[in-house]
Amino acid sequence: METIPLILSILFGTAVASYIVGKLNYLLKVGTSIVGLLWAGWLFLGLQGTQSLYSFKVLGFDIIWRMNPLSWLFGMIIFGLAILAAIFSGSYMKGKERVDFYCFAMCMTVASMFGIVVSGDLLSFFFFWEIMTWSSFLMVIYYRFEAQAAGLRYFVMSMIGAYAMLTALLIVYAQLGTFSFDALSAGWSGFSLALQIWLFVLFVIGFAVKAAMMPLHTWAPDAYTLSPSPFTALFSGALSKMGIYGLALLFFVFGAGKLASNVVTIQGISLPGYILAWFGAITALLGTFKAIVQDDAKKLLAYSSIGQLGYIILGFSLSTSMGVTAGLFQAVNHAIFKGMLFLAVGAVFYRTGTRKLSEMGGLITRMPYTFFVVLLGIITVAGMPPLSGFTGKWLIYEALIEKHLIFLAVVAFGASTAAFLYLYRLIFTIFLGQRPKRFDDIKEVPWMMRAPMLVLALLTIYLGFYPYHLLDLINQAQVSMGIAPFDLSHSMLFNSYGNVDTMTVMNIVAVVFFIVFILFNTLYKRSRKVGLKDIHTSGEVPGEEINLHYAVDFYQPFARGVSFFLKRSVSKIYASLADNLEGFFDVMRYIYTGNGQTYALFVIVALAFLFLVKDLLV
Amino acid sequence: MVDILSYLGYTLTSFGVLFLLFGALGILRMPDVYNRMQAGTKATTLGAVGTIMGVGLINPEWFFKTLIISLFILLSNPISSHALARGSYRSGIKMWQKKDIDAYEKAVQESEENEEAA
C-alpha cells in the first residue's frame, strides 16, 4: 500500500479501533491510540524528502495526496505534538469517563490534520478540514454542558470559515474544472482581479477562523480552555496551525500572495498582504492584552495563543523570504512552547483540580518538573534568548524592518514585551507565593505526563541553540512553495556571525540566564514567608471569603485602562448579531400560522403567481 | 298495433310531462313546505310515471324496465314525502294555517314521551 493512504488508514483505523476496544479496557484504548500514532508517525518520518503521490477519483473528482517539504514540516508538528499529547493523556485521562470517545476524537483529529497537509487538491483538503472541525468539536464539548456554548460557537465559526472556503474552492472549480493545487497555482493569475479578491477574502476567512485571527478569534479562548488539556496542547499547537498552513498555501501555492501587486503595493507589499499584516499585528496585540487580565490559566494561554498566531500571520503576510521563514519558524516554535505550557497547566489542573490562578500558589516545591517546563515555556514565549522563541521573534522583527514597516514592528515588539506581563504570572501565581493548605499534599505528576513536557522543553532549548536545523527544513519547504530560500546573510542577527557565532551568543545568554536563575532561587530561599491572609487593606479586616492572594486583581488598574478597548468585545457583537438573526428567524416562522386555510391560501396565491408569470416559465 | 301503442305512449308522455310541470309549479307556488309536498308528490309522481310508461309504450321492448321504474317511483315517492313531512314537522317547521287544525302535535309529544320512557 502507498504510504500516505496507509498512514491515513492507520490513523482513522486507530480512531475507530480505540473507540471500540475502549469499551473493554482503559489501557487497551490509550495503548491503541499511542501505538497507532507511533506507527503512523514512524511511517511518516520515512516520507521526508520523498515526493510520494497518490491519486484517485471520487465521484469524478480527482483526489491527490502528496508529500512535500511544507507538508512534512507541518506533519512533524502534528505527529510530534499528537504523540506527546497521547502519552500525556495516558495518565491524564485515567479514571475519566468516556475515554473511548476522547481517544476517538483525538485520533480522528490527528488523522484529519494529516489528511489536510497531504492533500494536493482542494476537495480532499476541505474534506479533511471538515473532519478536523467536527472531531475537534467533539473534544471541545468533552466536558459536557459547560462546554456546550463554547463548542457551538467554535463549530459555527468554523462552519462560517469552512463555508467561505468552500465557496472559494467551488468557484475555483467552476473556473478551472479541477480542484488540484497545481492547476490553481497555474490558473490563479488568469482570474480577473475581482475574482482574485473574492477568492482571497473567502479563503482568508476560512483559514483565519482556524488560526483564530482577529476578528474571527472569539471561539478560541473558551474552546481552548474547555477542551481537555492534552488536547488543548494539540489544539493550540497543531490544529490552529492548519489555518497557518492554509494561509501558506493561499499566499504561496495558490499564488494569492502576489494578488494585485501590479495594482497597488504598500511599501513593497501587495495590498492584501499589507492588510493581513495589520490584522496579524492587531491580533497579536489584542491577544496579549486579553491574556493579561485572565485569571484562568488556560484562558490566559488561549489568548496568548491568539497573540502568537498573530505574529505568525504577520510574518506570512509580508510574503518575503524572511517573513515566511519567520512565520514558519514561529509556527513550529509556537507548537512546541504552547504544547509545553498547555500540558504543564494541564498537569497542574490534574493535581489541583483548578485552573484559577488566584486559587493556586507555591507549587514549586510540589511540582518542580512542571515548574521547570513552565519557566522554559514563558521564556520562549516572551522571545528571550537563549530559547527558540528568541530566534522566531527576532526573525519577525527583522522581516518587518527589512520592509520598513517600522510601526508594525513597534506594535509587534510592544505586544511581545507586554506578553511578559501575563507570562510571569504563570510562574508567580502557580508556583511561587503561598500555597493554600489543600495543596500541601499534592505530588508531581506521573512520568507519563512529565516525559512529554520535558521532551518539548528540551526541544525548545535545542532549537534555541540550533535554529539552523529547523531553518533548513523551512528552507526546503519554502523552495517547495516557490519562495526563495531564506538567505541567512540577510539577517542582521545572523549575517556577520554565521552559525557558530549565533551559538556563542546563545551560549552567553544562556550562561547569564542560568546565573540569574540561581540568584532568583537563592533570593526565593531567603525571602520571608508571608501568611496568606496577613495583609490589611485600608484598615479593614478582610473577610474569609476575600482571597488576598496577590494574583487577585493584580492588573486591576491596567484592566481598567484597557477596558474601553476590551469591552468592545467582538464576541459580544457576534452574540448580538446572532440574537438579532434569531429574532428575524422568529418572524419568518410565523409564516406557518397553524391555520390550514391559510396554507390553502398560500397554495392558491402560489398558483395565481405562477399563472401570472407563466410567460417566464416557458 | 305498434302505431296505436306509440300513439298511446306519446299521449301518456304528454300528460306526464304536463303534470311534471304542474308539480314543479306547485312546489314553487304553495305557501308552506307541507303544501309544497302535496303538490310535488302527487303531480310529479303521476307525471313521472306517465312519462316513463309512455316511453315504455313507444318503445315496447323497454316496457318492463319502465314498469319497474314506475313501480319504484310509486312506492318510493310517497315514502320520501312522508318522511320529509314528518322530518319537517319534528324539526319544528310550522304549518301555514288559517285555522288551528293540528291533531299531530299531541301525538308527537306522546310518542316522544314514550320513547324517552323506553
Binding site: 469524478g60 419568518m588 406557518y592 398560500f602 402560489a606 398558483l607 | -
Partner: protein, 490 residues
Amino acid sequence: MYLDPVLMIALPLFAAFLIPPLARISKGLVKYVPVLIIGFNLYEMVMLLPHSMVKPVIVVIAAWAPPLGINLTIGPLGNILALIISLVGFVVAIYNIRFMEEEPNEKYHMLFLLLTAGATGMVLTGDIFNMFVFLEITSISSYALTAFLRDRDGAEAAFKYLLIGSLASTFILLGIALIYATTGTLNMAQIAVRIKDVDPRIAIMALILLVTGFGIEAEMFPLNGWAPDAYSQAPTPIGAAFGGIVVKAGVYALARLVYTIFDFQGIFHFILIAGIITLLIAEMSAIRQKQLKRMLAFSSIGQMGLVLIALGLATTRGVEGGLFQMFNHAMIKPLLFLSAGYLVFYSGSKNIEDMDGMGRVKPLLSFFFAFGAFAILGLPPLSGFWSKFIILSETIRNGFIAIAALALFGSIIEAVYYLRVVGRLYFKAPHEGLHVQYVPKSALVAMGILAIITLIAGLYPDFVMVYLKPAAAELLDKTVYIKSVLMAGL
C-alpha cells in the same frame, strides 16, 4: 434473477387485502407482513438494477402495449427511487414490529404497506393518470396514518394535510385533463412526444397546474404548510416515511414532469428559486422550534429545498447531486426520526428542552441521533457531505454563487439547531423520574441499517453514484425513455 416487477405493486395490494382475515387468525403475524412484502420489493429492485441501468425495463400490464394500456417503465431513475422507497419502507417496517401497539394495529401495518406500495407505484408507472391514482393511494394512507393515534394534534395535522393534499389532487387532475385533451394520451412517453405540437399556452398551464400539485407533495415553499404538522404529529415511523418515501415520490413526479414530459426551460429557474426559498425559510423556522420532531420536519423541508435547487440547475452533475441528496436524505431523515421517536417516548415530552441528558440514559439511541445530525449537516466522511458538495459545486459552476451562499447560510443555521439538540442529549443532566425502558432490538436494527448505509455511502460515494449517473442521464436525455416505452408498443 427478478420476478415480474408488477408484483411490486400487486403483492402489497394483495397482502393488504388479506391482512384483515390474517389479523383475525393471528394479530402477531400481521406486523411481519410489511417486512416480508417490502423486503420482496427491495429484493426485486436490487435484482432489477443491473437490467434497468442498461435500458429501461418496460412492463406491460393487461397485455396492452403502451400507450393503449398502462405500463411500468423501470428506468434507472424509477429503479433507484423505488429502491430507496423500498429500503426505507423495509427499515421502517422492521422498526414498526415493536413500535405500534396501539389498536387497531393491523390497520396501521396495512396502511403503511399501502403507503409504500403507492409511492412505489408512483415512481414506476409510465402513465400519468396511473401516477395520480398511486399518488392518491399514498396520500390517503398518509392522511389516515397522520391521525392514526387519534390524538388531538394528529387529527388537526391530518386535516390540514388532507386539505392541502386535496388541492394538490385537484390541480394535478386539471393538469392531466388539459394534457389528455390536447395530446389524446396519458402515456408519459407519448405525451412527451406530442406535447411539442400542443399550443404552448395550454401546455404551460398544464405544467403549472401539475407543478403546483406535485410541488405540494414535494414540500416546495409556499405549498408546504401541511408538512411540519403532519411530520411531527404522525406516529414516528410515519414521519420517517414521509421524509424517506412520500416526498421522494413527489419529487420524482416533479422531475419527471419538468425533465421528461415538458420542454420548458423557464420552469427550471422557478424550481431553483423555489428551492432556495424553501431551504431558507425551513431552516429559519427549524431553529425556532421547541419540539424535536417539528424541528426535524422543518429540516426535512430544508433538505428538499436543496434537492429542488439541484433539480433546478438542470445539469447532469446537478441532477446527480440532487439524486444523491435524495438518497442521503432518505437514509438520514428516517434515522433521525426513528431515534427521535424513542427519545421523545422515553423523555415523555415532545420538547427539545426535555431531551436533556438522554445521551447518558440512552447512549445508543442518542448516538444514532447525533450520527444522523452529523450526516445531515454534511460532515465528512458521512454521505451527506458528498451530495451537498456536488450540489453546491454545480450551483456555483452555473454562476448562482448567491444561491450557493444562501444555501450555506442555511446549513449553518442547520448546524446550530442540530448541535443544540445533540448538546442537550449529551451535555446536560437527565431529568429525574425518566420512564426509561429497553429499546426494542428491531428499532435498533432499523436505525443501525440506516446508519451503516450512510457511513458506507459517505466513505465510498461512487458506490451509490454509479447507479445515480444513469438516473440523471435518463432525466437529461429523455429520448431513451421515450424510445424504449414507445418501442414496446411495436
